[in-house]
């Protein structure tokens, strides 16, 4: 286990170094002068020069790079030009909002995805299987933000069951928080249900064909008992990796879905920075999300090794 951990951590560290280098290099993709791109055409040369120096663009490339690594090692992602405050502070302030949205969506997607996958696998090649697979494919083809708008139209505007947007902090009123989060989490989760259902079905089909399941069947155990108690625990192991894969899509999706429901998470911060070309927020936000994604995947991989000894011995 120790050897596995060291190898996995070293791999994650290397990727982290590259990820931060790429985030740093983003500013060099800006055509022309990033400072001039942020300010409008009426800005005086002095104003542009001042912003250039604030962004550190007047330094040489190695100086800028060492400065960037020095700063991010101490957790400083720079200053937002527009908000005039620390990017790290703004991101950390919004992280719980985005993470709770993604977590709720994940819970929803895993529950329905696994359930649908089991139903499909148990009824392999019969109509429930085909219905699940068709719905799953349809789910994978729907744009999440559009689904969100349609949900608002149906459940908020027409039926008036749930709020169309806005956000109440959990600490203020857990009930209001949940009411506000149901539609966004459904929107975000539904798109992933299809993906998880497909994986769960494949994993379940594989497990159901194992000898020990046939033995349990032959002993005369109830079918439901065999599926849920004997097959499901082993079928869930590959599904664990899916959570790692899906977390990236959920974080990205949350960025978009936050726009639809006016939720003040990291997504709104990043999208706000797009229009104003607030480069430190774009760089910092992208790096921050990648770090969160890498951390989630590291945890998933370690859990995977804990539950399945074959992984750590490989």
């Amino acid at each position: 286990m120790g050897h596995f951990l060291i190898r996995r951590l070293a791999g994650a560290f290397l990727v982290l170094v590259l990820v931060s280098l790429m985030s740093f290099a983003l500013i060099w993709l800006v055509p022309g002068d990033p400072a001039a791109a942020f300010l409008d055409a009426s800005a005086t040369p002095e104003q542009v020069a001042k912003l250039r120096s604030a962004l550190g663009l007047d330094l040489s490339l190695p100086q800028q790079m060492f400065g960037w690594y020095g700063r991010i090692l101490s957790g400083d992602l720079g200053q937002s030009i527009l908000l005039n405050r620390s990017v790290t502070a703004a991101l950390i302030e919004r992280l719980p909002v985005t993470l709770s949205l993604a977590a709720l969506a994940l819970a929803f997607a895993v529950f329905f995805g696994v359930a649908a996958g089991i139903v499909a696998a148990v009824n392999h090649n019969r109509w429930p299987d085909q219905a699940v697979m068709t719905t799953a494919l349809l789910g994978l083809s729907v744009p999440d933000f559009w689904l969100g708008l349609v949900m608002v139209l149906v459940f908020a505007v027409s039926l008036g069951w749930l709020p169309s947007g806005g956000f109440t902090p959990f600490m203020e009123s857990p009930g209001q928080w949940l009411r506000g989060m149901v539609l966004p989490a459904l929107t975000l989760g539904l798109v992933q249900v299809g993906f998880i259902a497909r994986m769960a079905r494949a994993s379940m089909l594989d497990t159901l064909s194992q000898d020990y399941v046939r033995t349990a069947d032959a002993k005369g155990l109830a079918k439901l008992h065999v599926v849920l108690r004997h097959a499901l625990p082993n079928a869930m192991i590959p599904i664990l990796t899916v959570i790692g894969i899906v977390s990236g899509a959920l974080l990205g999706g949350a960025v978009i879905v936050e726009q639809v429901f006016s939720i003040p998470g990291i997504g709104r911060l990043i999208v706000g920075a797009i229009a104003s070309r607030d480069f430190p927020v774009l760089q910092g936000g992208l790096l921050f999300l990648a770090v969160v994604y890498l951390a989630i995947n590291l945890v998933v991989d370690i859990l995977y090794a804990v539950v399945d000894p074959r992984v750590r011995l490989a």
């Binding site: 055509p31 933000f145 990205g252 999208v271 797009i274």
Partner: protein, 282 residues
């Protein structure tokens, strides 16, 4: 690929018997035909406003209704198909070239494997939609930059798939045979190995097309898509958002058009996967 690669009529026969492939191909063909013939098919000028027909509900004259400028939504969706599909197609070309090169070189040349694939891993650590959004915003919104942004986001996974196939293919005996008669490494890679990884690559690129159509819509929705007056699916939805209550059709119809395109491409991909790359079936 297991067994002899399918070619010619045998391949077509298998594809035409695959339901996913046929339904997907028909959907994609219809969307592409509409996009190509949009200039002749549009009932109205998609850019011409008509204040008297502002926010008109779907009717015999305007099948999909009109927007706040009185522009015909059906005509705008038809032209939108052209822009969205063009972005998807160019992304496929760019990600296909970049992904094949990176994946093939990493898979074939042992000492280049680690450096290339670690860079791909790093790119995959960014949520792809956010990566595309930020790259497009940093480069400045234009059709070309949206394609570049989407290609950067879809190349790493493509490279991974090509690399995996190359790793298997390069151990085959015919490669050793080619090497033993003095064929150069690059010739072996491009003339022999790559020809045999075409199956998984074509399947992946079909999905890339679908991902690009979805991602372009999301990019346009958050304001990082192609600038106006280009009306892609995503930008029509974004404009319709402010009129959701009084004119939901502005938002609903382009969304259905996206679903038709992406569903068609996904079905096409599933069908191609079943026939070209049976190992991946699940």
């Amino acid at each position: 690929m297991q067994g002899t690669p399918l070619v010619g009529r045998a391949l077509w026969g298998r594809l035409l018997r695959n339901r996913s492939f046929v339904i997907g191909a028909v959907l994609v063909f219809v969307m592409v035909a509409v996009a190509l013939a949009a200039d002749w098919l549009t009932p109205f000028d998609p850019l011409k406003s008509n204040v008297r027909a502002r926010l008109a509900a779907p009717s015999a004259a305007h099948w999909f209704g009109t927007d706040h400028f009185g522009r015909d939504i059906l005509s705008r969706v038809m032209i939108g198909a052209r822009i969205s599909l063009a972005i998807g197609a160019f992304t496929v070309v760019l990600a296909g070239i970049a992904g094949t090169l990176c994946g093939a070189i990493a898979g074939y040349f042992y000492h280049l494997d680690q450096p290339i694939m670690r860079i791909m891993d790093a790119l995959m650590a960014f949520p792809s939609i956010v990566l595309a959004m930020v790259v497009s915003a940093v480069l400045g919104a234009s059709l070309t930059n949206v394609v570049i942004a989407l290609a950067i986001a879809t190349t790493p996974h493509t490279a991974r798939i090509v690399r995996a196939s190359v790793l298997i293919e390069k151990e085959q005996e015919y490669i050793a045979a080619a090497r033993s008669i003095g064929v150069g490494e690059w010739t072996i890679l491009f003339k022999h190995v790559l020809r045999n990884v075409a199956g998984p690559l074509i399947v992946r690129l079909t999905y890339v097309f679908a991902i690009a159509v979805l991602a372009e819509a999301a990019l346009s929705f958050v304001g990082a898509g192609p600038p106006p007056p280009a009306a892609s699916f995503g930008s029509i939805i974004a404009q319709g958002r402010d009129f959701m209550r009084e004119a939901p059709w502005i938002t609903v119809f382009p969304g259905l058009a996206i679903i038709a395109c992406v569903l068609g491409l996904n079905l096409l991909g599933d069908g191609l996967r079943d026939v070209l790359d049976p190992r991946l079936k699940f």
